[in-house]
């Protein structure tokens, strides 16, 4: 266990715990967009900033990828922290002014209108989809492309990705709901990935419950019998 202070409170946390977890545990409110406890931290959105005092040195850092350390003093509400979070939020807001999630978060931080010209993007480049696809699904069908202001998330060559199983984990973790996944009839579409998948119909109820490609992938991976996914989870005995 590691002893540290968060907003004046002395706490103990397990070694390896990230500050964001330790602080939220004791009731601190820390905004974040690119953090998900199921995924390795990334530190892209720069909203979960805190001020860490280590000995005489004080620095601003993201709390999602900064582990608890013995004797440090953390402030989650210092003037600097709040100001910097607000401006980073303003930058995200100006990038994605039409996202309801972002609008709501910005409003909570007191920003009604960004001071910058408005773009019309829907992706905040948090990388959750990329990480979920790589770390959880294990296929890396999408990744970041280009750098700097030209950075995007995309499939290879913006085409149908041969390894994508159509599971939709990307859409599930996306904080701005920008992947555009839709199940219509027997087809699942991904607007962002320029691709679609045929959905398998349940032998019993006829419901199109999952992409055929995904079911085959899972069946092989788990070494399940050939007819295992002929029925949907609801109709499975």
């Amino acid at each position: 266990m590691v002893k540290l202070r968060i907003d004046g409170k002395e706490i103990e946390a397990k070694e390896g715990t990230m500050l964001i977890e330790a602080a939220r545990e004791v009731g601190a409110v820390i905004p974040s967009l690119c953090y998900n406890e199921e995924l390795p931290p990334y530190g892209a959105c720069r909203l979960c900033l805190v001020e860490v005092k280590r000995g005489k040195q004080s620095r601003i850092t993201t709390s999602c990828n900064y582990p608890v350390m013995e004797g440090i003093e953390v402030s989650t509400t210092s003037e600097k922290v709040l100001k910097y979070r607000r401006i980073n939020m303003e930058l995200i807001f100006a990038r994605c002014p039409n996202s309801e999630t972002i609008k709501e978060m910005a409003r909570e931080m007191g920003i009604e209108k960004p001071r910058f010209s408005l773009k019309d993007d829907d992706c905040i480049l948090c990388g959750l989809c990329v990480r979920a696809c790589k770390e959880v699904v294990g296929v890396s069908a999408i990744s970041f492309v280009n750098r700097g202001t030209n950075r995007w998330v995309a499939t290879p060559f913006f085409d149908h990705s041969a390894v994508c199983i159509g599971c939709g984990s990307c859409a599930y973790v996306c904080p701005t709901q920008c992947i555009g996944m839709e199940d219509v009839g027997d087809t699942r579409r991904f607007r962002k990935w320029n691709t679609e998948f045929k959905l398998k119909a349940c032998k019993v109820c006829g419901y199109h419950f999952a992409p055929e490609f995904q079911l085959e992938y899972m069946r092989k991976k788990a070494n399940l019998p050939k007819d295992y996914f002929d029925t949907c989870p609801n109709c499975r005995p």
């Binding site: 909203l47 910058f116 700097g148 202001t149």
Partner: protein, 617 residues
């Protein structure tokens, strides 16, 4: 050539090589650095080769193509040994005359001599050229003496002597202590003490350790690491081998950008030669120590100069920096302890081992020891690479070595530290140049870029230029860096195109603080510097752009208007001749007029008027 089995064999080889060489023998050296290449030095070298054969002088005179000499402004450069006669701007047509006059008859070819623009005096010998006189070329000096593709040249210049010295019974700990005591600071930008880094890496847990040479030099206008690697690759390799010995590493990497083909080429040759002599590989010089070096070629992303992004790139991933609380000396390349230093830092190492920490400490200032190579470019008469002791003043570099500002114009600022450095104004011209003093005035040492600007440079435009570079070169991971630099650039574009608003300066300052404080790596951490430092020293210029919609330097086209001062205009018609858009009219000997609708704001009239009659309104 065969493997050298001991340090004694190395010394024997060196002696044998030196014995064969007649120091009095004439030798024509031709600078073959990138600058001179652009001037066509290769063809000049070919012409010399042919002429020597034609005149049957092959036994009497040597020809050597060397690395960059530094005085790029006057290339192609030819220096004739043993007297070191200095010829500049040498063309193919000059070759036969140089051979017949200077080599055969020992006469000078006067027109090829360098003329000091200040004293109008013709200078014969390289050492007397003012550009070289105030320099202290400890690292760079051998560039002009050795053929970088010939390890024997390096050996004759004392090469691998430092390596032999440590292998003769100096412990790794003592090597680290020597580097620590020498107070060698990293030349790549951060200025972190190299010895301390080495020690942490040696002490880090794990049995495999890596040593990396960062040759991903990407600053616009900076090319000292490139020139070192091109011109004297063995000095860098020797430094790395010594570092690896001290740290306990058996594998090294040189990460060099693929846009430096000559550096890659010469380094590849150097590695092979060193391997053949047993200076790299297993049982180096007969000892138990083994060390290999591989070249990793970078795709040219500026951010890959950042150590953790560089390591990611070497591993084959996207070059993106990672969280800073884990130090690369503990967990770097493939999560193994890794020590990274830049080209120039490594090249300092053999020197320190050979001459000792005490000697090294005599050069430089309190906090910064040794010399530093700067690439002096921009509005300065002598552009090129200069190596000077730390603590030299900016004035000495720009005026004594650089020969001042061309065209009698006024100095305005000098930008140091690459794109994320800062602009230093005239009031600090007497500032001693070292790591700490540059930081104090809002700039930084960086890797050693030095861009001189005069009154015809607009500081808002300069800030815009660098921000444009940085917003494209940010890896794009952090919101603050990616969006922040883009927004700062956007505001600067607005200001330079006449759409500047009240509070724009304050917004730039606010954004600058957030980008610097909340971005992950040093790219974002220093990206606002060009903006913040120009606001700090040239705030008025920003205000003139925003409030008066005027660019005093006449750079921002939307805010510039050239007018003819009727009092001064004598009607010579020179402006009319040079105007590319026929915007100027007027009768001979009568004041001329500029048609604003036709004017493209190129400034040709302004540059060419001899009577100071064209003014920036």
């Amino acid at each position: 050539m065969s493997k050298l089995a001991s340090t004694a064999e190395l010394e024997n080889l060196r002696r044998a090589l030196l014995d064969k060489r007649d120091p009095g023998e004439p030798c024509i050296t031709i600078c073959s650095g990138t600058g001179c290449h652009a001037y066509g030095c290769e063809k000049v070298a070919d012409a010399f080769r042919k002429e020597i054969i034609k005149k049957k002088l092959s036994r009497k005179v040597k020809l050597r193509t060397t690395g960059c000499h530094g005085f790029c402004e006057r290339g192609p450069l030819v220096v004739i040994y043993p007297k070191k006669i200095f010829y500049q701007r040498v063309k193919i047509e000059d070759v036969s005359e140089i051979i017949s006059e200077t080599i055969i008859k020992e006469n000078l070819v006067e027109r090829l001599l360098y003329v000091d623009p200040n004293t109008k005096e013709k200078i014969i010998y390289e050492d007397d050229v003012p550009f070289y006189k105030k320099q202290q070329r400890l690292i760079f000096g051998n560039n002009g003496v050795i053929d970088p593709t010939c390890i024997e040249d390096y050996l004759m210049a004392g090469g691998y002597r430092a390596l032999a010295k440590i292998l003769n019974g100096i412990s790794p700990e003592t090597v680290i202590d020597t580097v620590k005591n020498a107070n060698l600071r990293g030349r790549g930008g951060g200025g972190f003490p190299a010895g301390v880094k080495w020690e942490s890496c040696r002490k880090a847990k794990g049995d495999v350790r890596y040593v990396i040479c960062n040759a991903d030099e990407g600053d616009p206008g900076a090319y000292m690491d490139r020139s070192l690697l091109e011109g004297n690759p063995h000095s860098v390799l020797e430094g790395m081998i010594i570092g690896a010995y001290a740290i306990g590493s058996n594998q090294g990497y040189v990460y060099v950008r693929n846009e430096y083909p000559l550096a890659v080429h010469n380094l590849t040759i150097a590695i092979k030669q060193a391997e053949r002599y047993g200076l790299l590989g297993t049982n180096i010089l007969g000892s138990d120590f083994a060390f290999k070096v591989k070249i990793g070629r970078g795709g040219g992303a500026f951010v890959c100069g950042e150590s953790s992004a560089l390591m990611a790139s070497l591993e084959g991933s996207v070059g993106e920096p990672r969280a800073k609380h884990i130090h690369t000396v503990e967990s770097g390349l493939w999560d193994k302890p890794t020590n990274l230093n830049n080209v120039e830092t490594w090249a300092n190492v053999p020197l320190i081992i050979n001459k000792g920490a005490g000697w090294y400490n005599q050069i430089g200032t309190e906090g910064s020891k040794g010399t530093k190579i700067f690439s002096l470019v921009g509005k300065v008469n002598n552009t090129g690479l200069v190596e000077v002791p730390m603590g030299i003043t900016l004035r000495e570099v720009i005026y004594d070595i650089g020969g001042g500002i061309p065209g009698g114009r006024k100095f305005k600022a000098v930008q140091t530290g690459g794109p994320s450095g800062g602009c230093i104004p005239e009031q600090y011209l007497d500032l001693p140049v070292d790591f700490d003093r540059l930081s104090e005035v809002g700039s930084m040492m960086g890797s050693g870029g030095m861009i001189v600007m005069d009154e015809r440079n607009c500081m808002v435009d300069v800030a815009k230029y660098f921000l444009n570079f940085l917003k494209d070169e940010s890896c794009g991971k952090c919101t603050s860096c990616r969006e922040g630099t883009e927004r700062m650039h956007e505001i600067l574009v607005d200001i330079t195109e006449g759409r500047g608003k009240d509070l724009d300066i304050e917004l730039l300052e606010e954004l600058g603080e957030v980008v610097a404080e909340t971005s992950l790596c040093a790219l974002g951490g220093t990206a606002p510097n060009p903006v913040l430092s120009t606001i700090r020293y040239f705030r008025e210029e920003y205000e003139t752009h925003i409030k008066d919609k005027r660019c005093p330097a006449g750079v921002c086209k939307e805010l510039t208007r050239y007018v003819v001062d009727r009092e001064n205009c004598v009607g010579c018609g020179r402006c009319k001749v040079v105007c590319p858009s026929q915007a100027i009219t007027g009768k001979k000997k009568k004041p001329h007029k500029i048609n604003q609708k036709k004017c493209v704001k190129c400034g040709a009239c302004f540059e060419n008027c001899k009577f100071n009659a064209v003014k920036i309104a």
